[in-house]
Structures are given as C-alpha cells and as structure tokens.
Amino acid sequence: MTAATVLPSDAESLRLRRQGRARRGVQALIYHGLVLALVVVVLYPAVWMLISSFKPSNEIIGNVSLVPEGASWANIQTALNGIGGVSFWTFVLNSLILAVGSVVGILISCSLSAYALSRVSFPGRNVFFTLMIGTLLLPFHVVVIPQYIIYNQLGLVNTFVPLLLGKFLAVEGFFVFLMVQFMRNLPRELDEAARIDGAGHVRIFTSIMLPLMQPAFVTASIFAFIWSWNDFFAPLLYLKKPDLYTLPIALRLYVDQTTTSDYGAQMAMAVLALLPVLLFFLVFQRYLVEGVATQGLKG
C-alpha cells in the first residue's frame, strides 16, 4: 500500500509524460529550426547561381533576390552555343577526357607505387617515402615554370600530355600517401599466406591487394575526378587552342572586365559545368564516407 502513495496516480503520470514529450518536442523544433536556417545560409549561394542562370544579365549583379523576373532559357542557350565557333560539348568532352584520364592514371600509378612503398622492402625505401611526402609540401607554383619550359621544348604544349603524364607517373604524392597508409593497415598475414602458396609480387598485388583496396580507390577516384574537373590553372597554361579548352576556362570567357560581360551565360555555364560533378558526387558519396570510415577504423 505504501507504494501507491509514492507512485504518481495515472492522471499524474500521464501529465508528466505529456510534459516530457512537449519539452522534447520544443527542443526538436528549436533544433530543426536552427539546422534549417543553417541549410538556407549554406545553400543560398548555390540556389542564387541556379536562379541567376535564368535571369537577364543586367539583373544579376547586385541583385540578391531569388525570384527571377522574366525567367528564360536564353542564357542556357547562349552557353550551349559555345564560344568562338567551338561547341559547348567540346569543352565538356575535354574536361571529361582529362578527368577520366586523371582517375585512371592515378589509380594505376599510385596503387603500384603504394604497393612498392608499403610491401616491398628495397634499399632506400624510407628515403623515397620521405621524398614523396616532401613533394606534398612543395607548392605547385614553384614548379610551374620549369615544367612549362620542359613541356614546351618537347613540343607537348597544346596536347593533354602535360596534364595527364604526371598522373600516370604517380606524381600526385597525396594519393600515393593515401594508398600507402591504407595498404599498411591491411593484414600482412594475407600476403604471407599467398607467398607461401607461391605467389609473387604481381600475383599478390592483383589478387590480394587490389580487391581489398576498393574503398581507397573510390576515395582517390572522387578526389581525382573533382580536382581535375575544377582545375583551372594547368589547362590555362597548356591548352591554348580553343577546341582544347576545358569548362573552367570556357566559363570565364563570358566575363571580361575590359569588354562586355555576359553574367547570365556565365552562370548558366557554371550550372551546366557543375552538374557532372554533382552527379558523380551523389553516386559515389556513400563510398566516399565508407572509404574514410574504414581508413579511420583499421589498425
């Protein structure tokens, strides 16, 4: 009977439960309200760009409104018409060739060098590894001019070679490092077992390492693709024929402060240029998160 005096009555407990739920409800409301407000702030520039691509040029600059007056497809049309007799699709194709080429090159070359640096013991391995890390600290701009002079003397300016050769020679230290770290965390017992079965380096690499490296490959592919897609400076230097231009170069051609600027067309082309990266990211982001997670957890 004493328990009855301690326990709240049914009505009381119902009230308490309601109170708790209400408090949680209010908290959730505040939380979601804040998060939504943040989303608006974060997404505003992207939405502004999207909307601006449908506005006439003189309504874009200085106009923060998201409601277009007189929306039209004219800008998209201008962007799709291309520049100086070169079609928009040529720019897309060039960007694609470079992006896909970079991904392929980086996957092949960086995984091979990573295997050498993490699994093969050879004299000077640590020195090479340190040197490779050293290249990460070297700003790109330091090597621009010597590189340009060399490629120019080899007659390779105005080809995709200067932009892709490095990718096939594992020059991108970041990706080598990423893969070395990943491989180091793979259990050595696996390749030792393969070795006992008589497998050589080639067999171990192709049959043991490659299948296990998938998360690292996905991470590397995504970065390589997006970096190459957005790269502006290297194409500016090496690709001087309009029919070799990539999207980031073409998209700046609409805005020139010394002549008239077509901001609408630029926005439209920016949106069009963004779509492939966005799609690529949407499709692969699950793997990206997975890749980062496995790397964090292993070891």
Binding site: N58, I61, G84, I145, F232, L236, K240, K241, L253, T259
Partner: protein, 440 residues
C-alpha cells in the same frame, strides 16, 4: 580557394618574367637589316592571341577567316582568355620564350615586355611596306615606340569622357552642367546636388551623383596634364610631387566628408559592375569605349559628355592607344606575323567586323568602314571622338616600369581614403614609397 591560387599564380608569373630577363640576352631578336618580305609559297602557321569575351572571340574568328582566304598559305591558330588570365599565361610563355607570334597588347605591359626583349621590332616591316600605316595619326604610331624600336602598333584609340544616365538626371531634376566649359568644381556641385536630391532606385538604394573620381590613377594623369604637368619624364621618372597628389585628392574632400560620393562599401558589394552601371549613380568619368559595356550592364541608354577641366574649356585630352598589336620576339615567321598585323590594322573589312568594340579604329579607312547605325553606341563613340578632336592636345603618358604596381597601389590606397582610414597626405606619402620601390 581559386582566387588564392590565381593570386599566387600571378606572383609566380611576375617572377617568371623577371627570371626570363636574365636569359633574354642570348635570345633571338630579329636582325633589322634582314627584314624579309613575306614569301607567299611557304606554308606557315601563326599563333594569335587576344583577351576578351565570347563576342570578341567570334569577331576575331571572322577576321581570321578573311585573312586565311586572302593568304591561303598562312594558317592562324587563335587562343584567347579574359584579361587577368591572359597575362598569367603570357608571362609563363615569356619565361620559356615561346610567346605567340602575334598578340593583342596593352600599354601598361608594353615597357615590361619590351625591356626584356620579348617584343619584335616592327620598324623593318614598316620600312619595307609590309605594314602600311598611312591611314594612322603619326603621334599614335609613335606611342608604340620604346627605345627607338617600334614594338607595338595600336589598333584603336580611347579617350576620357563623362558618362551620364539621362533617366537618373530626369528623376533627380538636377541638370548636368554645360560640358564644354564646366570645371571640376562645377562637377563637384553637380555630384552634391544629385546626391542631395535624395532619389532612390526601384529597389530602394540611394542614388548618388558620381563615384569618387580621385580613386583612379589615369584620371589623376589627365588632371595633371590639364595643370600643365607631364606625369612621367623622358627617363621614366615621375614628373609630379606629393603636393600634386594631395591637391588632386582634396578636390573631392568635402564630398567625401559629406558622404556625397558613391559609397565604397556598395561599390565592393556590386563588384564587378560599377555603381554607375547599376543605375545608382548619375554620372561617371570613363574611357569612351566602355560605353558599350556600361550600357549593357545598366540596361539603359547612356549619354556621353566631355570631362571637366581646371580652366573652363581647356580639356587637354589625349588619345590612349589601345589594343596594341605586337609580335613575339621569338617568332619564327616574322614576315608572316607582320602581314597578319597589317591585315588586322588596315583591312577595311576587319574594321567593319569589329566596329568600335575595341575602341575607335586608328586606321582612317577602317574607321570609315565601321557601319554605325545612327543612334547606336558605335555612332555615339565615334561622334564623341570626332567632336573632341580639337581638344586632343596632349600625347598619352607612356606608362613607366612597374606601372601595374603603382596603378594598383593608387586604387587600394584610394579605397582606404574613401573609408576615411587615410588622409590625402598619408596617401601621397605611402604611394610615393611604393612607387620608388616599383620603379627602381
């Protein structure tokens, strides 16, 4: 992120040019005595580069098509980029001595590249008739001469003018002064009156008289010429003193104090379009060839007037040669390059293709070919340059070494003055310090 990269890139690029100076001694500069005329049987590919937008690209492509038709053995390989990227790419090429055969060039970079022996001396081709400048004003041609070498030839000319927005003048009810005789003080009064009228745009932004004209180095040079001071001496040193700078900046001191010039923070917010081109200011001084882009940005009809002067009517204007054409000193086809330059400069059809989009053509035949529909922007600009031809009494001040730096410094410091962080005296002192460094 990208901006950072770009900024870094241009620093590196500037370094590259300095670096290349060391190696240029051994470079090949065409021997003036061996100027050949062009061999019509040799198959040649020329590279041609310019800065500009998509519209300019299609006009150039048209001109190239004409040229290739007239010279079937020459193939022209074009390349183009917007202004900033253009100079990054050029300085990298300069470092490896692989500049394009023919380049569109600007006065402000001319001395830097010429001093490093990057530009071909075109004099031999003028002498042997490959380039025919009979339709040019001689003073304009001489603007492309440095150290007795004809390194560049202007395609067109610009000169200073005052843009006004008639719709805003109607709205505020403030009349623009008589542009033949008004002084800087009259113009200041106009700015003050317009701002004080308190009109606003449809979006509720206040309408001002004009941006502060003291923020632009070229305007300062124009004012110096009116004062009878040559901005730069023959030897490339400065021809003015700190007192001149202070005096110029103080022209608008009262307007700044009263907040009557176009506000700096709004200017920054609207970049890259000016407050004037956004229909928030009644007038702005500018190069006359910018009328097309300002009209496009503002979407309204604009009017051209003369600039104010110190003494009524004494304008002391100069024609600024623009869109100069140069040949890279490393070209292997100098005669063909000269042929292309001549074609772009003097072929009447090319004049018709470009109109005034590169300024008013310097060549008299090309100028006549510009089909300017009455009332069009082309017609307005040409009419303006013709109307002021009597007032063009000065030659353009040829920018000195380090010009890019000192012009940019002027702009940055002027922004500080506009925010009220810097007095004109401090401005003058800091600017002169910078100029000494940049020009040494």
């Amino acid at each position: 992120m990208r901006h950072n990269k770009l900024a870094l890139a241009s620093v590196v690029a500037a370094g590259a040019l300095a670096l290349s100076a060391c190696s240029s001694a051994g470079g090949t500069t065409a021997d003036p005595s061996s100027a050949e005329t062009f061999n019509p049987n040799e198959q040649v590919t020329l590279t041609l580069t310019w800065w500009g937008n998509d519209d300019r690209a299609s006009r150039y492509q048209e001109a190239i098509a004409l040229f290739e038709e007239a010279y079937p053995n020459i193939t022209v390989q074009p390349t183009f980029s917007p202004w900033d990227d253009y100079w990054t790419a050029r300085s990298t090429e300069a470092a490896s001595r692989s500049l394009p055969d023919v380049m569109q060039f600007d006065l402000s970079y001319m001395r830097e590249y010429a001093d490093n022996d990057m530009l071909l001396n075109l004099q031999p081709y003028l002498d042997n008739g490959t380039i025919d400048l009979s339709g040019f004003d001689p003073s304009l041609v001489s603007a492309g001469v440095l150290d007795e070498k004809q390194v560049a030839i202007p395609t067109s000319t610009n000169t200073f003018s005052m843009f006004t927005n008639p719709a805003i003048l109607d709205q505020t009810g403030v009349a623009f002064p008589d542009d033949a005789t008004y002084t800087w003080q009259d113009f200041n009064q106009f700015i003050a009156d317009t701002t004080a009228a308190g009109a606003t745009t449809d979006d509720g932004y206040a309408i001002y008289g004009s941006p502060d004209y003291t923020g632009t180095f070229w305007f300062f040079m124009q004012w110096l010429l009116q004062k009878g001071v040559q901005p730069f001496a023959e030897d490339g040193s400065l021809g003015f003193t700190q007192d001149d700078v202070v005096e110029f900046l103080n022209l608008t001191a009262d307007l700044r104090a009263a907040g009557q010039t176009y506000p700096q923070d709004r200017t920054v917010a609207l970049t890259p379009v000016s407050g004037f081109a956004s229909n928030e200011a009644a007038a702005q001084m500018n190069w006359d060839n910018f009328l097309a882009s300002d009209s496009a940005d503002s979407g309204s009809e604009l009017a051209l007037h003369q600039i104010p002067s110190i003494e009524p009517g004494e304008k002391h204007l100069f024609l600024k040669p623009s869109m100069l054409l140069v040949a890279g000193a490393n070209t292997e086809h100098a005669a063909a390059a000269a042929t292309l330059i001549n074609f772009l400069l003097t072929e009447p059809e090319v004049g018709a293709i470009f109109g005034t989009s590169k300024g008013v053509p310097a060549d008299v035949v090309q100028r006549d070919k510009v089909e300017a529909a009455p009332g069009s922007i082309d017609a307005q600009v040409i009419a303006y340059e013709e109307s002021i031809s009597r007032d063009v009494t000065e030659t353009v001040p040829i920018p000195v070494k380090g010009y890019g730096t000192i012009e940019a410094k002027w702009k940055t410091l002027a922004e500080e003055v506009a925010y009220g962080n810097l007095t004109p005296e401090d401005f003058a002192k800091q600017w002169f310090d910078e100029a000494e460094l940049a020009m040494s």
